[in-house]
Amino acid sequence: MTTQAISPLREAWMQFLRNKPAVFGLVLLSAIILTILYGRFIFSGDPYQIVWAPLSPPGERGYLFGTDFLGRDILTGILKGGAPTLAVGVSAAVLTVVIGIVMGALAGYFGGWMDDLLMRITEFFQVLPALLFAMVLVTLFSPSLYTISFAIGIVSWPPTARLTRAEFLRIRELEYVTAARSIGAGNARIIFKVILPNALPPLIVSAALTVGVAILFEAGLSFLGLGDPNTVSWGLMIGQNRNFLLEAWWPVAIPGLAIFVTVFAVSLVGDGLNDAFNPKLRSR
């Protein structure tokens, strides 16, 4: 027992940095986010503006990614469409994690009838066909970025809830929880201050992966014609250009690639976090 012990978080971070794919993912993801946030200041343009002949191939007339079915610049669309796409991904993931943690924490902490009830509800949502149910919700509230994020959140939380519950079941029996209880800490305090911080690592991983899932989900809804028609997003670009696929592959392929690269980066990071937090795999 010499000087300072390395904190678990720091140790995980070191571990993460040793994981090459994860670091690559992180760099990629940072590049994407920076491009989306600042790219539009350097490259200002209106994604709705018709700039050149429809469906002209990449590179023609200096339009790096070509033009879409209306003759709008695809590069501008990718840059401007990135923010809404990521916003949907992140907000749906936040909703997913919030619902999942609340349900899972209550079920895992209190157990008994509460656990039974909440797990029945979770099972119910797992049986619901996710995409179909999201379509019903979006149809009901009419498509916008908000309703889409909401719908994705509503259908995606059960795995997070199960995970949280499992962590809570494990941790609530540990000594320090018993100790906290014995000094008279209230339930809320134990849940949020004692157990949750310790259950957090796997939940962070799951949240990261959910961002990717939500982006894919939004793309799927847009492809089916249930995207928000008044906001450019990558999924919407695919959906709108899909009818011209035989004539021009790039207006479909490029936004798809953008989604792919983003989700790919997100999942590399998520996997890296998973390995970093999970010492069992690490030791091998």
């Binding site: 709705y48 503006q49 429809p54 149809t139 009419s142 498509p143 709108q240 009818n243 011209f244 035989l246």
Partner: protein, 526 residues
């Protein structure tokens, strides 16, 4: 000379093509099957109680109608071998062929004709088709007399194709509501083909009716209708020969198919439907209640850009409510071409100055779900284009059809981009959307809330006028008025095209595939 791989344009070209097709007619060959690719799924197969192309194509193969019409709007015998009008124009006598039988062997009689017409009158969405019909008399088994309350020049057309399928009274007369009758999914008609198998949303298989009343017909052994919802996929199946015939409705596919050897691509055969893409205005709400605003929008739209860039030069210009290929079309009606200065001036004059951000006002535009292949790019274009004159357009995409229909029917909209069909005679497809008496809470009525007494009067006169020249004159004046007042901006005729294998002899009437295909044959084995 064979017309190969050419995208034929315009009415003049159509006439030329027809002449050419007739010139090289050969002796028809028996045998072979036809695969038709269709973008829409029919609700059922009985056109007597269901409008729409998806039902009409198989429906007209299964059911025969009293008359047929050709590519020049001329009528020919079908179930009726002859017909004559009474002198006062209030009775039409049909003399039926004597050897026609339904697919179940029961003879077709005048009672079936009377039953069919009265069923259609009571149930079909197009109320004007048989509106003036008071009764159908049946003096004998093979004579039917249609009695009218007023002269009805559209009647002959209403007896052709999908508008008047003769359905068996012994099947549909069993007391069940015809609209929901189980036989609509397993129809028994007297047409050239009978239903073999119907897999909803997937495939309709028709086989030759060996007992057809026209000797030696049909030439084909069968027709398969394959339902493919995605335009690109449908195009691929025509390209690869998986399908032989298709009705292609989007410009992108048409221009692609036009470049393929061995395929004929032609706009002929849609004169009857008369498919028009329009931008409808709700004339009851500000600022669209001001005719200057509507005209300004018309001046702000670049029709040439729509036709050449968006429609790839395969759609015809359509400046008015009556399809340009119709004999009633008035080529001298008011037209609007791109003039941004004039549009801006009109908007200033109407009291809508530009705000600090250059925007005058915001309008919402409804779009129909699931039709973006045919019209999706025009709403997007208008959103970009109307900004030029300071009008901000917001698209309101309804997630499903009933939501859209609800907005339109209840008047809860400002502008709407939609497709409307002429259906042959203006009485059927045009009157309904301009008559003030037809401002109703259902879609495809006068949902624009447009009122003009002279228009009401002209349409009433034209609907009863049997003299062609006089009738044309009434419609000409009608087109002048609505062209001036613009309850609707007619964007273009939709680029509907028939695409088929060159080896098929396919006579295309104004109804295209929506009339009996008993004369269709393969000129050589496929």
């Amino acid at each position: 000379m064979r017309l190969t791989r050419r995208v034929l344009l315009g009415v003049a070209a159509s006439a030329l093509a027809l002449g050419a097709a007739m010139a090289h007619a050969q002796t028809p060959r028996r045998g072979g099957e036809l695969v038709i690719v269709s973008g829409e799924n029919p609700r059922h197969l009985n056109p007597a109680v269901q409008s729409g192309v998806a039902t009409a194509v198989p429906g007209t193969q299964i059911f025969a109608s009293p008359l047929r019409v050709d590519a020049d709007w001329q009528f020919h015998p079908y179930l009726a071998q002859s017909w004559e009008w009474s002198d006062d124009g209030l009775a039409l006598t049909l003399n039926l062929v004597e050897n026609a039988r339904f697919h179940d062997g029961v003879p077709v009689t005048s009672a079936d004709v009377a039953f069919s017409i009265m069923t259609i009158k009571a149930n079909h969405p197009f109320q004007t088709m048989f509106g003036p019909v008071e009764a159908v008399d049946t003096p004998d088994e093979h004579t039917a007399v249609i009695r009218l309350s007023q002269p009805h020049p559209a009647l002959l057309l209403a007896l052709t194709g999908a508008l008047c399928p003769i359905i068996p009274a012994h099947v549909y007369g069993d007391g069940q509501a015809v609209r929901e009758h189980p036989a609509n999914n397993a129809p028994v008609g007297s047409g050239p083909f009978r239903l073999a198998e119907y897999r909803p949303g997937e495939q309709i298989t028709l086989v030759r009716n060996d007992d057809f009343f026209l000797e030696g017909r049909p030439y084909l052994d069968g027709i398969t209708i394959r339902i493919v919802r995605d335009a690109a996929t449908a195009t691929l199946s025509l390209e690869s020969g998986e399908a032989d015939v298709g009705m292609v409705t989007d410009a992108s596919s048409i221009s692609r198919l036009g470049a393929i050897d061995g395929l004929t691509v032609t706009p002929r055969g849609f004169e009857g439907i008369g498919p028009i893409q329009w931008l409808a205005f709700n004339t009851r709400v500000a600022p669209l209640d001001d005719v200057r605003v509507r005209q300004a929008i018309a001046y702000a739209i670049d029709r040439d850009f729509v036709l050449n860039a968006l429609m790839r030069g395969v759609a015809a210009s359509q400046p008015g409510p009556i399809i340009a290929s119709s004999p009633f079309y008035n080529a001298d009606m008011p037209q609007y071409s791109l003039d941004l200065d004039r549009a801006n001036a009109l908007l200033d004059e109407a009291g809508h100055p530009r705000g600090t951000d250059g925007t005058r006002f915001t309008l919402t535009m409804e779009t129909v779900p699931g039709r973006d292949a045919a019209l999706g790019n025009v709403p997007e274009y208008l959103r970009s284009q109307l900004r030029e004159v300071g009008i901000n357009v917001e698209l309101r995409a309804s997630p499903d059809f009933p939501t859209w229909a609800g907005h339109l029917a209840s008047g809860d909209f400002q502008m709407s981009m939609d497709i409307v069909f002429n259906w042959g005679d203006p009485v059927i497809g045009v009157h309904r959307t301009y008559l003030s008496s037809n401002i109703r809470e259902v879609i495809w009525s006068n949902t624009q809330g447009y009122r003009n007494d002279r228009v009401d009067e002209l349409l009433a006169l034209a609907g009863q006028e049997t003299d062609m020249a006089q009738r044309t004159a009434y419609y000409a004046e009608f087109q002048d008025i609505v062209g001036e007042e613009l309850p609707v901006y007619w964007v273009n005729a939709l680029p509907y095209h028939h695409v088929f294998d060159n080896r098929i002899e396919l006579p295309l009437s104004i109804w295209g595939l929506m009339q009996s295909m008993d004369e269709v044959y393969w000129t050589e084995d496929r």
